[in-house]
Symmetry: C2
Amino acid sequence: MTAHPIKHLIEAADRAISAQDFETLMAFYADDATLVVRPGLNAHGKDQILQAFHRIAEHFKHGLDVTQGEMQVLEGGDTALVIMETLLHSPEADGSTTETRRRATYVFRKYPDGQWLCVVDNSYGTDLLTQV
Amino acid sequence: MTAHPIKHLIEAADRAISAQDFETLMAFYADDATLVVRPGLNAHGKDQILQAFHRIAEHFKHGLDVTQGEMQVLEGGDTALVIMETLLHSPEADGSTTETRRRATYVFRKYPDGQWLCVVDNSYGTDLLTQV
């Protein structure tokens, strides 16, 4: 079975995050996308999302590495709900690495030119309900 | 603060499920919506979704009652990701009621006429990853 095209997009976006190549990263988002920076704080639009990724990179001391676990894609109405395990590896002061596993929820939208773009990026998944 | 219009739609849809008024219920879905019937089994389009709700009603012996808990709406790109607690009350053979709490994920899309319709209905939320 061929992997869903969105799988490749997410892998490429996560590589861009790990490489801190935020210009490349922004190409995966719609102009009016929303990113959950942390529960209760959302970034709207590419300017805010770009700023948020710079702050996130600083927070993780420019050592964040993002990879993907299990994934499900549910398509309907030219949108796709992606449920996936996201693994964050971040450096600690003592040289060790902390791994954080999140069950993320992303919404992608298929635009008339056939391109899928991320419109809602919520890496906290349903944990959002308890953490606000 | 005024509640998000989608909150009222979900409340009305859940009332229609509880009343087994599936004709009314179908008006909340886009023609090409997807419903996760159970992990691994999806219904696509209104015909399949309608059939699925009839089977779900039978499964719960026509006694299913659905209400809503906490809710978060994340809007981006004329779509909305809804994260919400869904409470299912279903009758048991001994006359008691079983309550099941799920953390659901729904995607709504705002169509050019301003109407929000459900395009992905996944009441299993991120539990979908472990249950398939």
